[in-house]
Assembly symmetry: C2
Homo-oligomer: 461 residues x 2
């Protein structure tokens, strides 16, 4: 594939169509050349700030006409280089398309532009007694979350982005805009193109509008922190909690290393053991208290010891702060270090084995990397870190990360639970998907015959 | 497209490969030429009884070699002609692939062959404290349900077939077998081919194995029957029940006409008004009693009157028998009549309007057709019926059905909520999907360049 850089003539043409909405200011180019988690910068030659679907269509048409790569960009909160313009060209900035267009409370849905940040949607839904349930943590955009197939801590209850998008409008390279999915809660009318675009990371088209599900705000919630002698015991408790039909809103596992970091950062003295954070929701205080008692009983059966309990809003915030501050704790413990976030997902029953292997690898390679797991989903992250210039450690991190990913695949898992493929995970897709990867490539060629849509992502070149 | 019939030479070749597993017995051909809901029979020229994935692959390869159509068939419980071999050729019977291969209780999953009937899976899962949650009512096969994107009464709680398949093996026409999806609870690793095959009705490939989700058996359940002055009031109550976060297991609406039929059939005297059947589940009797009290309060706010209540297993069976006997009631009321089942789905808020238009159309055209709705999903069925030879009535049924479907589309709904496209719904896909239909055709061509996989379905020829 030959991708040309933008020539003066091409920039003129961009300016002709987009005027002030094109930027070639160096700071803009650099800002659009990186994300939260990918270490290298690949700057575009131009940034086009789309303000409407028509702008997106025009930009795609121009990319085709000029035969230059085009990569959609919004919050820049991706972790695998998903929005990094690997081959340069145009960065299509969608942050100005940030309007919540419609909240339909009787349909439990909202229609938004792709640049809306998800906390903003929840804020606007609150007066309707509703909220948006997918919470990846970072200030992510809904378009980016849909394009990545993102999820977060509440997926065990509400599902991932894939489960929470009803309908989308997607602009294709050839100028067509498809409406995929349906605002009806279910449909069996033909091929499911919605799910094809969800998680396709801008390699098939650009999402210009989304209708997403909203959920009723829980009337009551309560949380508990439980420490266990081993990860095995914590996962056994998790399986029993789900099996009892409790359906917790969050079920988060961290390892002893993580508790150590949080203790250091927050001046706490929690038991430095594998720990579950569990949040249940219900219709009132009595309901959640009963659920929490049941959770406690099941945890005790696996040898768990309750180390925290929260029934008021203030207590919950305090309890979850520890969980939410894992990243900051890590940064505080290792000032000046850069981070890399591992992300694999395995069948739940395989989780203790996967984490045991992970811990052994970390010991063998003398790495300290806290483990944070969305344990109800079999998904866990490793918070690798090292000084930016410490090449030897980064090499060991790459090796350990690679081994863990291959082990996850061997267990029937996936190389990425919620961060997408981006650049670094491309090499695992053959192992994970076998011949299905060829079918994916064939579909890619159908929608993007010239390889202009976010080239270098998902597929190895 | 030219599709040749099987010639003697071709039959010889089939027998060479499949021996006794090929049938050309007339009764077999006719049995494989129809389903539960499509009025016409289109017999295949041969039935191949696959006993393994290798048989499926061999049959697909032969279909390609001989250039004859091939249509998968299992329970034959489809309603739109989904498995009817419209263009003849080979009917690929999967009923002998009926083994539950694996139940992994700690993963809340089961792996099955496509011919397994879903009640059988629930039966085998019960000793593990689990069940399979998608229940379309008929004795459907799991492969067929996946291929149709089926759902049923419990979708409001557990989702549809699309939400309950984790992984599949799919045999393609070119002999490849793809593994799509993942046994990990979530993944963002590349294009979602699983959802592309789910609901593709055997037009892209043949499902040879499925790993599906199992759910914990509810510890306790209770039901309530509530009658309302209008469908509007019943839907208002539904939105309030969902909005209160109760998350009922079932939320079924029937119209006055249906209650009349059930009263006649079962010798009951329920109020002949729009009626909701609601089932809630919980951790114990007190939990479901509290939920039921809240449901009752919300229904009363919309003018609902409780006409039945069931807390014991025996009472629940009695209460739901009425709902489940709607079809039999109809048959008893109109002996000798044939049926046709309407199936549209709209955004929940549009449901009262859709049902009002439907009732008006039925009155205008002097048709009696009970309305049965999975109201929590915005999905409703019309139970049309007439004497088989009554051409004038069938013509009115076709007209009314067509008008309702187009109205549903106008409201942002879908032409089929859970029965698939099959033959009769093909003509609505352009209206429903616009240019996305062209993209679907392009994908069809990719996987089936000769139009041999279940030709005549989903797309108009």
């Amino acid at each position: 594939m030959t991708i040309r850089e933008l020539e003066d003539q091409q920039l003129l043409r961009l300016r002709e169509v987009f005027g002030e909405r094109v930027s070639t200011v160096k700071a803009d180019l650099i800002a659009h050349g990186r994300d939260e988690g990918y270490p290298d910068t690949h700057a575009p030659q131009a940034v086009v700030y789309a303000e409407s679907e028509a702008d997106v269509v025009a930009a795609l048409r121009l990319a085709r006409e000029l035969h230059v790569p085009i990569t959609p960009y919004a919050a820049g909160s991706g972790l695998e280089g998903n929005a990094v313009p690997w081959r340069g060209g145009i960065s299509l900035d969608l942050t100005r398309m940030n309007r919540v267009l419609l909240i339909e409370s009787a349909n439990f849905s909202a229609t938004v532009e792709p640049g809306v940040l998800y906390p903003e949607l929840s804020r606007q839904a609150r007066p309707h007694g509703l909220f948006f349930a997918v919470d990846p943590g970072a200030e992510a955009s809904l378009g980016g979350m849909a394009a990545t197939g993102a999820s977060g801590t509440a997926a065990v209850k509400y599902g991932t982005m894939r489960d929470n998008v009803l309908e989308m409008r997607v602009a294709l390279l050839d100028g067509r805009v498809l409406r995929v999915g349906s605002r009806a809660p279910k449909s069996s009318a033909g091929y499911d193109l919605k799910h094809l675009f969800l998680g396709s990371e801008g390699t098939l088209g650009v999402i210009t509008e989304l209708t997403v599900r909203l959920w009723p705000l829980p009337a009551s919630a309560a949380s508990m922190q439980v420490s266990f002698a081993s990860v095995d015991d914590a996962v056994t408790a998790t399986v029993m909690i789900i099996g009892a039909g409790i359906g917790p809103q969050r079920l988060e596992l961290v390892d002893a290393e993580t508790i150590r970091a949080v203790n250091f950062y927050k001046g706490r003295s929690d038991a430095e053991q594998p720990t579950l954070w569990i949040e249940v929701i219900g219709r009132d205080g009595a309901d959640v208290a009963t659920q929490l008692a049941l959770v406690e009983e099941l945890c005790r059966e696996s040898g768990g010891a309750v180390t925290g309990r929260a029934t008021t809003e203030a207590q919950r915030t305090e309890l979850w702060t520890a969980r939410h501050h894992v990243y900051y704790a890590l940064r505080a413990m290792y000032p000046g270090h850069s981070n890399r976030l591992g992300d694999v997902c395995v069948p739940i029953a395989a989780l203790p084995g996967a984490i045991a292997i992970t811990q052994q690898l970390l010991r063998e390679h003398q790495l300290h990397a806290p483990i944070v797991g969305h344990v109800g989903d079999g998904n866990f992250h490793l918070l690798f870190h090292a000084a930016p210039e410490d090449a030897a450690t980064w090499e060991r991190i790459a090796l350990v990360s690679d081994t863990i990913t291959r082990e996850a695949l061997r267990m029937g898992g996936t190389c990425t639970g919620e961060h997408g493929v981006g650049i670094r995970k491309r090499k695992y897709l053959r192992d994970e998907h076998g011949e299905a990867l060829d079918a994916m490539r064939e579909i890619k060629s159908l929608f993007d015959p010239y390889g202009l849509l976010n080239p270098g992502k998902i597929f190895e070149e």
